[in-house]
């Protein structure tokens, strides 16, 4: 499976943690604590090399929209939006809803799952309701 980031950045933005589970790869400044995704080598605030960190994949929805006419590479409409992760990172990702689940809302707690998206497809973080997306 091709992981997200390989085509656009030349590297996956996912990496295995100690138990082999794929996590979101980010960076953290040892001085100011600024956490960035995708991973950055240097902190723009302090000029110091950042430390690699992995994100928990939990946060809240800042904003979400239903993409009715998707861009090239996607055949089906989808929900997507900006997620504010608990470590202070805001990232763009698709949002999955269980059948019958209400539309995503501002501030809704979500958590990451890894899913295949798009026509190719690629493996990417997709956010679901924080109870694992089982709840309708």
């Amino acid at each position: 499976m091709i992981e997200v980031g390989i085509e656009s950045l030349g590297r996956s933005v996912l990496e295995p943690d100690g138990s082999g589970e794929l996590r979101i790869a980010a960076s953290r400044c040892p001085e100011c604590g600024d956490v960035r995704f995708p991973r950055r080598e240097f902190c723009v605030n302090d000029g110091l090399p950042n430390d690699p960190v992995q994100l928990a994949g939990t946060g809240v929805i800042y904003e979400a929209v239903f993409v009715g006419v998707p861009p090239g590479g996607f055949d089906e409409p989808f929900w997507a939006g900006y997620i504010d992760l608990d470590e202070g990172v805001r990232l763009f990702a698709q949002i999955a809803r269980a059948d019958g689940e209400d539309a995503p809302t501002h501030g809704q707690r979500v958590e990451m799952q890894l899913r295949e998206i798009g026509v190719r497809p690629v493996l990417a973080p997709v956010f679901v309701n924080a109870d694992g997306g089982r709840h309708a």
Binding site: V4, G5, E7, S8, L9, V13, P38, V44, N45, Y62, E63, A64, V65, F66, V67, G68, V69, P70, P71, G72, G73, F74, F78, A80, G81, Y82, D84, G88, V89, R90, F92, A93, Q94, H106, I117, G118, V122, A124
Partner: protein
């Protein structure tokens, strides 16, 4: 700024979808029209700047679009600068020409903006964004970004869907009187609200089209105008571009620090404020964008943009008419051409030659453009302020 710079002439092609046109033919038509309008020839030009965003991916011509158009026009032996700054490429070309003349090294600049998109791959789908490649892998597109901004604005300020649609209706009304515009048939609020949903809440008629077109302006220094016997009517009072702000991640999508910074610098440079602006071109790639930009440009208080358009204050005849040529939504948005086309429209307004869409007595004008995305903010934006000194004095 040590040198006074004028716009001596302008030219623009029709915007639309022209299968037989090329970057060379479009640029030549606009460039020749601008030189003729200025009363100059190709031999008078001593620097060329050219904005074109997607020549590489769409035409296999990554470099040298300005040289190509100069060659078409018979311009030889001069400095040529090619600018790629997303949707703001034309504004960047204007800024570079302004710098070139300000430096004292040049007196007559031909500024070109051109794009040919009708033959692009992926027609019928939203464009992707060069600055958001990782997000693009996950389905990001500019309409998704602006749809999120629209939802935020609606939630925070009770802006209505109808107010957002009113931008599209207003700008289409203006385009009806612009023979160069891509879409001119009148539309109603219902037409906008009932058109196909692209990214909710934005529908097809809330989104600018892609297309082909070129625009050009000739800039001259005061010394150049004297030497060539020109009496230009429009002066450039500010030309400012800037890049985005990326340190803050939890930014509010209803307002852009970049546009606030760029416009503040431009107002300072020109020695005017928002209330002095008689007519404006504002980046309406999507209907809601115009509302956000009203607020960041200081045309109204934060949150009041929807009410401003609803009250007709930004229509021709209102307090501050915006996008009198139809805007990106209706004149069309051949990316690199737009930043220059905005200047063409404002010069026509300042010179009193806009016919049935004329803003009577316009003497100070502002053009604003946003260019691309990067890390969740815009990649660049540009603000130009023009005036007609004889009217101001």
């Amino acid at each position: 700024m040590t040198r006074t710079i004028y716009v001596a002439g302008t030219g623009i092609t029709a915007f639309g979808k022209f299968a037989d046109a090329s970057l060379g033919s479009l640029g030549r038509e606009a460039g020749a029209a601008a030189l003729a309008d200025a009363g100059l020839t190709a031999r008078d030009v001593d620097v060329v700047t050219c904005g074109c965003a997607r020549s590489g991916t769409q035409h296999g011509r990554e470099s040298g679009v300005g040289q190509y158009i100069g060659w078409e026009l018979g311009i030889e032996g001069v400095a040529v600068y090619n600018e790629k700054a997303f949707c703001a490429s034309g504004a960047m070309a204007l800024n570079v020409a302004h710098l070139a003349i300000t430096s004292g090294g040049h007196d007559v600049a031909l500024v070109l903006g051109v794009e040919k998109m009708s033959s692009r791959k992926g027609r019928g789908r939203p464009l992707t964004s060069d600055g958001m490649v990782l997000e693009g892998e996950q389905g990001f597109s500019p309409p998704a970004y602006y749809a999120m901004a629209a939802r935020r604005h609606m939630a925070e300020y009770e802006t209505t869907r109808e107010q957002i649609a009113a931008v599209a209706v207003k700008n289409r009304r203006a385009a009806a009187d612009n023979p160069k515009a891509q879409y001119r048939d009148p539309i109603t609020l219902d037409d906008v609200l009932n058109s196909k949903t692209i990214v909710a809440p934005l529908n097809l008629l809330d989104c600018c089209p892609t297309g082909d077109g070129a625009a050009a302006v000739v800039l001259v220094s005061e010394a150049g105008a004297e030497r060539l016997g020109l009496v230009p009517e429009v002066r450039i009072d500010a030309s400012v571009v800037g890049s985005g702000f990326y340190r803050k991640q939890d930014r509010n999508m209803t307002s852009f620090a970049l546009d606030r910074a760029t416009s503040t610098k431009a107002y300072e440079q020109a020695g005017v404020g928002p209330s002095d602006i008689d007519v404006a071109e504002v980046h309406d790639s999507f209907s809601v964008a115009e509302i956000l930009h009203y607020e960041d440009l200081g045309f109204c208080e934060p949150g009041m943009g929807g009410k401003l358009v609803e009250a007709g204050e930004t229509a021709i005849g209102g307090r501050i008419p915006v996008n009198t040529g139809g805007g990106l939504l209706n004149r069309g948005h051949p990316l690199g051409a737009t930043g220059v086309a905005q200047i063409v429209e404002l010069c026509d307004q300042l010179r009193g030659r806009s016919g049935s869409r004329q803003v009577v007595g316009a003497s100070t004008a502002l053009a604003h453009i946003s260019g691309g995305f990067h890390d969740g903010d815009f990649a660049t934006s540009g603000v130009t302020i023009l005036s007609r000194p004889d009217a101001v004095a």
